[in-house]
């Protein structure tokens, strides 16, 4: 009974990981759309990545960051390049915990697919794929691994997660 349960648990875990790793599109997110009321702004992931890696603000990014003070900009950069060490198996197991699922579904109401669907599955697979990269990984890696472009409902984000940058 016990051995069977363990075999089953490990088997289903590996199976799920293989599916996640092989079916996720090689092409990750290219653009992030920021929905603010009726308005939709867009930003290339490349601009964001340049800022995170070098601190350089491309003209495209300047449209958004000009409203942020230096301190907030630094915080955003730090948050996106903060290294995490948890491996993909641990990340996947964590995303199965009911309170974590609840959190990711809440987050998915804010971070959507381009058509406005809850981003839960996209976020979960992006987290697992980022964690599967060799060495440390960052939130910037998670954005790169997002299977589609990303749409963020800014108003809702500020209301639900008041400390998000």
């Amino acid at each position: 009974m016990l051995v069977d349960a363990i075999r089953l648990g490990v088997g289903s875990l590996i199976g799920t990981l293989i599916v996640l790793l092989t079916t996720a599109s090689a092409q990750g997110a290219e653009r992030i759309y920021l929905k603010y009321g009726p308005l939709l702004f867009s930003l290339s992931v490349e601009s964001l990545a340049t800022f995170v890696h070098t601190g350089e603000i491309t003209p495209e990014l300047a449209r958004y960051t000009s409203q942020l003070d230096q301190n907030t900009r630094q915080q955003l950069r730090q948050a996106l390049q903060q290294p995490y060490t948890m491996n993909e198996v641990a990340v996947y197991r964590m995303t199965e915990i009911p309170v974590v699922v609840d959190f990711l579904q809440g987050l998915g109401e804010v971070i959507n697919t381009p058509s406005g669907l809850n981003g839960f599955y996209a976020i979960r697979s992006a987290l697992v794929l980022a964690a599967a990269e060799p060495g440390d990984w960052t939130m910037m890696d998670v954005i790169h691994h997002f299977p589609t472009d990303i749409r963020i409902d800014v108003e809702r984000a500020m209301q639900r997660f008041p400390v998000m940058p």
């Binding site: 641990a90 197991r93 915990i97 009911p98």
Partner: protein, 495 residues
């Protein structure tokens, strides 16, 4: 004697002495169980955490014990199973947040023809299986579904419950069957304190969510285990709700100001903040008129883990609970000692929606229980252990309850069953006598830990003679740690 022989002898004697001492320590720890009684032994460990010491310390053996010795006599009409759940971490945790963490372990006593058998088993949750594979606690699995809070029978299934996760079905033999989602109709979670309507077999329960609206969802499942009602309930803010109450016409929820605060969670890591200035709100959801909007009644701030009961009478709704004027959710002795409770009656006038309050008992009490046949109805008897704060302060370890209180709500009196010195009880479970004709015709069961022998007994008290010696004291050669909640399962009630 040659030097070599001398050495050999010395070493042999030393080895024998060592081994015999080990055997003695082993038998002391394991109270001379026969190998056939031990299902499995796991590596033991000790922790300095308040909630993993003394009466709270986990056990590391799963055992099967027949023909348990008894002082007194087991009532021959007692036929069924008493099973209780509780946190019992298998691996030493990295950090421990009681009562939310710890793998659920079930302790069951089976009664048949005046004889008793005992069995305990861990619930093999998905998270525990991952940790068994890793042979250690895994940090990424904290706050998983431990299935450690309660166990009930519904629709022919035994369900181990945890409030942020699906129920885990277990067999009567305590084998883990797996997660139960009411045929896929329940998402993610269910309270550990559902309420059974004994007349219809309906189970009333809810799920709370910290991150997705609605923050509260009320469910009803029929006697066959099919969900027949799902009602989202708007809360202005997410909150933790540990228990609900049920009356003839209402499902009753308390939105107490222990509030989930995202900013606070990010700042301090403790997501639940006591905000008394917000006050508390009591929500009444009509059970039969599905279109009727919830009634919310505001009152001063209080916290409730558990309701004793609720019932309607003469245009009022009476709600009895273990009432805390404040709740500081920290696992320090000072916080535990500052969270003083009392037995309180809230009487809601259903016409003008006012609340009057009455303190029924100002002793520090919780873990209420009653005959479940009385759920939602005017009732006479209820039970709570006295959580003696002086004793807890003196022991510097929580959860030592030296006496069990019987409340007679009709006569507004109470009686105390004092346990032997060094003995401490847990939650009581009421079992109606098979030929019951009056409210006093029931037995009261509770686990009792004896700190002198480091073993546990199951006590069977006669409600009609509550202060007297137990009818039966079933002696275990092992310890049953202080746990959480349990149920009496009548023979044939669950597979």
């Amino acid at each position: 004697m040659k030097r070599r022989d001398f050495l050999t002898t010395t070493v042999s004697v030393a080895a024998l002495t060592y081994l015999s001492r080990q055997a003695e320590a082993w038998s002391q720890n394991h109270h001379q169980l026969h190998s056939s009684q031990i299902h499995r032994t796991y590596p033991s460990w000790a922790s300095r955490d308040l909630f993993l010491q003394g009466i709270n310390a986990p056990v590391f053996q799963e055992v099967d014990l027949d023909n348990l010795p008894v002082t007194g006599e087991i009532p021959p009409d007692l036929a069924g199973m008493y099973v209780r759940n509780g946190p019992n971490p298998m691996f030493q945790p990295i950090a421990y947040a009681y009562p939310l963490e710890g793998d659920g372990m079930l302790h069951a006593v089976y009664f048949e023809a005046g004889k008793a058998k005992y069995r305990n088993r861990w619930i093999l949750t998905k998270g525990l299986i991952y940790e068994m594979q890793a042979k250690q606690a895994l940090p990424e699995l904290r706050f998983r579904n431990y299935a450690n809070t309660h166990i009930i029978a519904h629709a022919g299934k035994l369900l181990a419950l945890y409030e942020t996760g699906l129920p885990y079905e277990v067999s009567r033999d305590l084998e883990t069957v797996g997660e139960w989602s009411f045929n896929g109709k329940l998402e993610q979670a269910m309270t550990a304190h559902p309420k059974l309507d004994v007349d219809t077999g309906e189970l009333h329960f809810y799920r709370y969510s910290f991150f997705t609206e609605p923050y509260l969802t009320y469910y009803v499942a029929n006697a066959a285990g099919e969900i027949t009602r799902t009602t989202g309930i708007e809360l202005p803010q997410p909150a933790l709700l540990h228990d609900m109450a049920l009356s003839d016409n209402y499902a009753i929820f308390c939105h107490c100001p222990l509030v989930f605060d995202f900013q606070q969670a990010m700042r301090t890591g403790i997501p639940l903040v006591w905000q008394p200035e917000q006050g508390a709100r009591i929500g009444l959801i009509h059970r039969h008129d599905l279109d009727r909007k919830p009634i919310w009644i505001e009152t001063e701030a209080f916290w409730v883990w558990h309701f004793m009961n609720a019932f309607e009478q003469n245009g009022t709704l009476v709600v009895d609970c273990a009432y805390y004027p404040q709740m500081i959710l920290e696992n320090t002795l000072s916080a535990i000692l500052s969270n003083r409770s009392r037995f309180q009656r809230l009487t809601i006038n259903l016409d003008d929606r006012t609340i009057t309050q009455q303190t029924l008992d100002d002793r520090n009490v919780d873990f209420p229980s009653l005959d479940r046949q009385q759920t939602g109805k005017p009732y006479r008897f209820g039970y709570m252990p006295h959580m003696d704060l002086e004793l807890i302060a003196q022991k510097a370890i929580p959860n030592y309850f030296p006496e069990l209180i019987q409340y007679d709500l009709v006569n507004q009196t109470s009686q105390v069953h004092c346990l032997q010195p060094g003995c401490y009880c847990g939650e009581a479970t009421v079992v109606p006598k098979s030929n019951a004709t009056s409210a006093t015709d029931h037995y009261v069961l509770t686990w009792v830990f004896n700190e002198i022998t480091q073993t546990s007994d199951l006590l069977i008290l006669d409600a009609a003679n509550f202060t007297a010696a137990p009818l039966a004291q079933i002696h275990l050669p092992v310890r049953v740690p202080m746990g959480t909640h349990g149920s009496w399962i009548v023979a044939g009630e669950a597979a």
